[in-house]
């Protein structure tokens, strides 16, 4: 049984696990692009864009691409904005972890011994003082002072381009997703679930919307760590764009943390567990679509897997050194009930007698450019608003009524600058930060089959609505929404929001 450990608890900046990782990454980077167990091949498994790879120096004219058969089987596979997001990435991590371990085993001066226990570390950026990029990645040098540290990447700009400081700002990420009881949700405006919505093989454009963990903190960390030039949308960090993210060695520590959070969620009593539907368990191949496949050492032979194969990390041979969940009373549902002055009751998730209904919408599309914040008024329907008010009053009065949930949908966000992060305010309360990871592909409709619909973000604004209700301020015709760029957005990137809607999820 292998144990994946917190990168900040390895016994120093260059703890053994990180030192061996760096050595293996160096060896993998030396392998040819066409080899299935090379560093760049693994990057291409996540995503590939010939033009971007060339301009970033990851594809030279002399490089031979992998064969068409290899690319068809393995490349451009990453699953995003889908209920396959978590299981696909679990398999991807397993494959690279085994590949790294196999490389370590062959390295001199203790590699064979180290490989017996080596596991991928994870970066838990939610811990105070552990939100800075782990030092081994931030230094251009090896611990002995020699340059060409393979964990160091110049195209990693952090949240403030030009500052050379890479860290995750604590106020732009959160773990509220852990409070979501259902793994899968709906595409009709309500909760998308912890793990994401039902889709087929989902890579590239036509992204409907993100599961809660994928949206926050996963997407935000990609964009906050990768960053980009606010004046030039062609200059961005490797982590910022799905087509280059797998090339940055920090990617795998980020995803190990996301994978760990999936296990944390599964350990919570209120979580309903992973889906049992055949379409999830058996993966997209069961609906006539492409299957999940990874190359494995020693020869790069294919390993096909399904989400059903990925549900038990014990069976897969590993665990994490910390799978502790946040306290129940710190979870969003419990906090809401406390704020509403209501007796505690368990969270139930979406039941058959619940429905999702439109509560309001704004009038027109919004353009985001430069630093300027954009304001819009989301008109609310009186009848639906009344249903919410009546429900919240009933929650306080009765012991079993579940509170309605209200969601703000930021829809059809298009643009060519994935490094964009936007803060969303409703009536001057900060709802969350959204990050446009994947927006470029979702806009251009990757593969040339027409204009993409962009990304849609679903934000839970139930707590804000509760506050309005408690201060008798919910009886309004519209909600004022403000979108504030965290960093300036290049005008040429054409970042826009198609529509902002509000939905009620309840009985």
């Amino acid at each position: 049984m292998f144990t994946r450990k917190n990168v900040y608890k390895l016994g120093g900046d260059w703890g053994d696990a990180i030192l061996w990782y760096a050595r293996a990454v160096q060896a993998m980077k030396a392998r040819k692009l066409a080899e299935p167990l090379s560093w760049r091949f693994f990057g291409g498994i996540h995503g590939f864009d010939q033009g971007v790879w060339q301009s970033f120096g990851y594809l030279a004219a002399s490089d031979k691409l992998p064969s068409a058969a290899l690319r068809k089987r393995f490349w451009e596979q990453c699953q995003h904005a889908t209920w396959y997001f978590l299981p696909w990435h679990r398999g991807y991590l397993l494959a690279i972890e085994k590949t790294v371990r196999d490389v370590i085993a062959s390295l001199p001066k203790g590699g064979a011994t180290a490989a017996k226990t080596w596991a991928l570390p994870y970066w838990n950026y939610s811990v105070k003082n552990e939100n800075k990029l782990p030092p081994a990645f931030a230094s251009p040098d090896w611990p002995d002072g020699k340059g060409n540290n393979p964990l160091f990447v110049t195209q990693r700009y952090g949240p403030n381009f030009g500052s050379n400081k890479v860290f995750v700002p604590p106020n732009q990420i959160n773990l509220k997703a852990l409070g979501e009881p259902d793994f899968t949700g709906v595409t009709t405006g309500g909760s998308t679930g912890f793990g994401g919505v039902e889709t087929g093989f989902q890579h590239g454009s036509n992204s409907p919307r993100f599961g809660r963990l994928e949206q926050q903190p996963h997407n935000n960390v990609h964009v906050l760590v990768g960053g980009g030039d606010p004046t030039n949308q062609n200059v961005f960090g490797l982590m910022t764009d799905p087509d280059t993210a797998g090339l940055d060695p920090i990617f795998y520590l980020h995803h190990a943390n996301i994978d760990r959070l999936w296990s944390v969620w599964n350990g919570e009593p209120a979580s309903k567990g992973d889906p049992t539907d055949a379409q999830w368990v058996k993966g997209p191949a069961s609906i006539g679509e492409r299957k999940f496949s990874m190359p494995l050492p020693p020869n790069g032979d294919p390993w096909d897997y399904t989400p059903g194969d990925m549900t038990d990390i014990g069976k897969l041979g590993y665990t994490y050194d910390d799978l502790k969940a946040p306290a129940a009373k710190a979870m969003p549902h419990a906090k809401r009930l406390a704020a509403l002055g209501a007796a505690p009751r368990g969270v139930v998730g979406m039941t058959r007698d619940q429905k999702v209904e439109l509560m309001g919408a704004n009038e027109k599309a919004l353009r985001i450019s430069g630093k300027a914040e954009v304001k819009t008024s989301v008109k609310l329907d009186k009848q639906v608003r009344k249903r919410v008010s009546n429900n919240l009053a009933a929650v306080r009065a009765e012991a079993t009524t579940q509170p309605d949930r209200v969601f703000l949908n930021i829809e059809n966000v298009r643009g060519l600058h994935d490094a964009t992060a936007l803060q969303v305010f409703v009536k001057d309360e900060l709802v969350d930060t959204i990050a446009l990871f994947g927006a470029r592909k979702a806009t251009t409709g990757g593969g040339g089959h027409g204009e993409g619909g962009g990304l849609t973000f679903v934000l839970d604004i139930s707590e804000i609505v509760d506050k309005l209700h408690l201060s008798n301020a919910l009886d309004v015709n519209a909600l004022d929404v403000r979108i504030v760029p965290v960093n300036p957005v290049p005008e040429a990137a054409n970042v826009s929001i198609g529509r902002i809607r509000v939905f009620r999820q309840g009985r």
């Binding site: 899968t184 949700g185 679509e289 494995l296 096909d304 309001g360 919408a361 008109k379 329907d381 027409g450």
Partner: protein
């Protein structure tokens, strides 16, 4: 059943019932194939064909209309979407019924095949997958639903007319052929939007799904990575 699947079936079920009733009517009533029989009967025939073949295919757009409409306006919005959609399809059906007997079967089949495999067909199918964004309030909401119904009908008619002409070319067994074409069109709907190009387009995905479930014990065996 996932919450999303439950939502889908709550729209799909009534549409399938409506379609089923139309199929029964088509089977039991004598068929009318051209305007010689009178505009009334031919319109009725075309409307029944529309209900039988297209109602199952229109679940997605109707769900979209319901989702983007306030509860108090939902029936109205769905009706404003369906009305132009049904009218345009019924008219298209009458046109198809009129031209079918005037075509040489072989020439028609060649033309239909050319259209089916052409980039233009893929472009129309892609447009069918793209749903208009609808306003929520007032006259604008009514207009958007009507406009969506009309444009969606145009792309649907362009995509499907070729295949729908096929049963009308047959001397007998049109209803069975129509049923087969309906299944073909449903299978086409399963595919995601793709690059418009020349390609052999058919119900390949449905075939893959059938193949997966038939030889599942062999396919589901995967090499599990051992530690």
């Amino acid at each position: 059943m996932t919450p999303a699947a439950f939502e889908r079936w709550s729209i799909r079920a009534p549409l399938l019932l409506g379609s089923g009733a139309a199929w029964i009517a088509l089977i039991v009533q004598p068929q009318v194939c051209s305007l010689h029989a009178g505009l009334g009967p031919v319109t009725r025939e075309s409307a029944l064909m529309f209900a039988a073949m297209m109602l199952p295919l229109v679940a997605g757009p109707i769900r979209h209309v319901c989702n983007q409409s306030l509860a108090r306006r939902r029936w109205r919005a769905a009706a404003l979407f369906l009305a132009p959609y049904a009218l345009l399809w019924t008219a298209a059906g009458i046109v198809l019924m009129e031209i079918a007997p005037r075509l040489s079967v072989y020439a028609a089949v060649v033309l239909i095949a050319l259209w089916q495999f052409s980039p233009a067909k893929q472009l129309c199918v892609n447009r069918c997958h793209s749903f208009a964004d609808l306003s929520a309030f007032g006259v604008r909401a009514d207009y958007d639903a009507l406009a969506f119904g009309s444009t969606h009908a145009v792309w649907c008619i362009a995509s499907c007319s070729g295949l729908m002409l096929l049963p009308m070319l047959l001397p007998a067994g049109q209803v069975i052929a129509m049923a087969a074409i309906t299944l073909w069109l449903l299978s086409e709907k399963l595919d995601k939007p793709a690059k418009p190009q020349w390609a052999l387009r058919g119900p390949a995905k449905a075939a893959r799904i059938a193949q997966y479930w038939l030889i599942r014990p062999i396919l589901s065996r995967s090499v599990s990575p051992s530690s």
